[in-house]
C-alpha cells in the first residue's frame, strides 16, 4: 500500500499536537522533521512507505504521548492537587454518609440485624465521586478563572454529577424508612 508522504505528515502533525504543550514546543518540530526524514528515506530506498512502518511510528508516538502526560502528572502540581482533592473528597464523602450511619445504628430494631455495609460504602463512593468532580470547578471559580474555559470537560462533569446526585438522593429517600427504624422496610 502506497501512502502519500504529505498526507501522513499532516496526520502525524495532528498526533504530535496531543503532547503536553511544553514538550510540543521543545520537540514538536524536531519530531515532525524526524518523521518526515524516515518517510523520505523509505520512499527513496523502496519507493513507498510501508503500512507496517507507519502503524509502528504512530503507535510508538501515541505511547510517547501517554508517557509524557503521565510524567507531567506525576511530577507536576496536578498530581499533588489530585491527591489533595481525592483525600478531601473521601473525607467529605464519609461525612455526608455519617448521619445516615448514625440513624441506622440508633434506630436498629435488633442488635443481631446485619449492618448494611455495602449500602453505606456505595453511598460513600458516590458522594466521594461527586465531591471529587465538584472540587476542580470550585477551585477554578475561587482562583478567578473562567469555568467555561474547557466546556467539554465541564459538560461531561456536569452530566456525571447530576446522575450521581440523582442516584444518591434516590437511594437515601428509598432507604430513609430503614434508617428511621420502620419495621418491615426493605
Amino acid at each position: 500500500m502506497i501512502f502519500e508522504q504529505k498526507t501522513v505528515l499532516i496526520i502525524y502533525k495532528k498526533l504530535v499536537a496531543f503532547y503536553p504543550p511544553e514538550f510540543r514546543e521543545q520537540f514538536g518540530e524536531s519530531m515532525k522533521q524526524t518523521f518526515s526524514d524516515v518517510c523520505r528515506e523509505h520512499k527513496r530506498e523502496f519507493h513507498k512507505i510501508p503500512l507496517g512502518l507507519l502503524i509502528w511510528m504512530f503507535m510508538e508516538t501515541s505511547v510517547g504521548i501517554i508517557k509524557e502526560h503521565f510524567i507531567k502528572l506525576k511530577r507536576g502540581k496536578n498530581m499533588e492537587n489530585f491527591k489533595i482533592n481525592f483525600k478531601s473528597a473521601t473525607i467529605i464523602g464519609l461525612i455526608s454518609v455519617l448521619p445516615f450511619i448514625t440513624l441506622e445504628l440508633v434506630n436498629r430494631r435488633t442488635l443481631s440485624q446485619d449492618f448494611p455495609f455495602p449500602l453505606f460504602v456505595f453511598l460513600w463512593l458516590l458522594a466521594t465521586a461527586f465531591i471529587f468532580m465538584l472540587m476542580p470547578i470550585v477551585q477554578t471559580v475561587q482562583t478567578g478563572n473562567k469555568i467555561a474555559a474547557k466546556p467539554a470537560v465541564l459538560l461531561i462533569s456536569g452530566v456525571f454529577m447530576v446522575i450521581i446526585a440523582f442516584l444518591w438522593g434516590s437511594i437515601v429517600v428509598d432507604q430513609m424508612p430503614c434508617f428511621m427504624g420502620v419495621p418491615n422496610c426493605d
Partner: protein, 120 residues
C-alpha cells in the same frame, strides 16, 4: 534521572543514545540511524522514545544541544544537533564498566547467550 543517581544503570534507550553520540554530534534522525547501526538492527527507536529520552537526558545534563545547522545529506531544513556532555561520558563509561563486569561474571559462571533464554 538526576545527577546524584547517575550510579544507577541507564535505560537501554539512554544508553544507546549516549553510545551514538559518543562518536560525534548528531541530529534526531541521525541518532535513530546510528542506534540502529550500532545495534546491528536489533534496536529500532521511534520518535516518541527518542525525543522522550532526549528530554530527560537534557534535563539530567547527559547531553546538550550543540547548534542548529543543515545536514547536507538531508533536505535544506535546519536541524538541532545534540552532543554528549562530560556527565554523559562519565555515565556511559560507568555503564560500560558495569556491562564488562557482568560479562566477566557470566564468563566465570560459564554462561553464554546460547545457554540462556532471555525474556525481556
Amino acid at each position: 534521572m538526576s545527577s546524584e543517581n547517575q550510579k544507577t544503570s541507564l535505560t537501554p534507550a539512554v544508553f544507546h543514545i549516549l553510545l551514538a553520540l559518543s562518536s560525534g554530534e548528531l541530529h534526531g534522525y541521525g541518532i535513530m540511524k546510528q542506534v540502529e547501526a550500532d545495534s546491528q538492527g536489533q534496536v529500532k527507536m521511534g520518535a516518541g522514545t527518542l525525543y522522550g529520552s532526549i528530554k530527560r537526558m537534557l534535563d539530567a545534563g547527559l547531553i546538550k544541544e550543540s547548534d542548529k545547522r543543515i545536514d547536507p545529506q538531508m533536505d535544506d531544513e535546519r536541524r538541532i544537533y545534540y552532543q554528549i556532555t562530560g556527565v554523559g561520558e562519565k555515565a556511559l563509561s560507568d555503564e560500560i564498566a558495569r556491562y564488562k563486569h557482568i560479562v566477566k561474571l557470566a564468563k566465570k559462571l560459564k554462561l553464554s547467550p546460547k545457554t540462556l533464554v532471555y525474556d525481556f
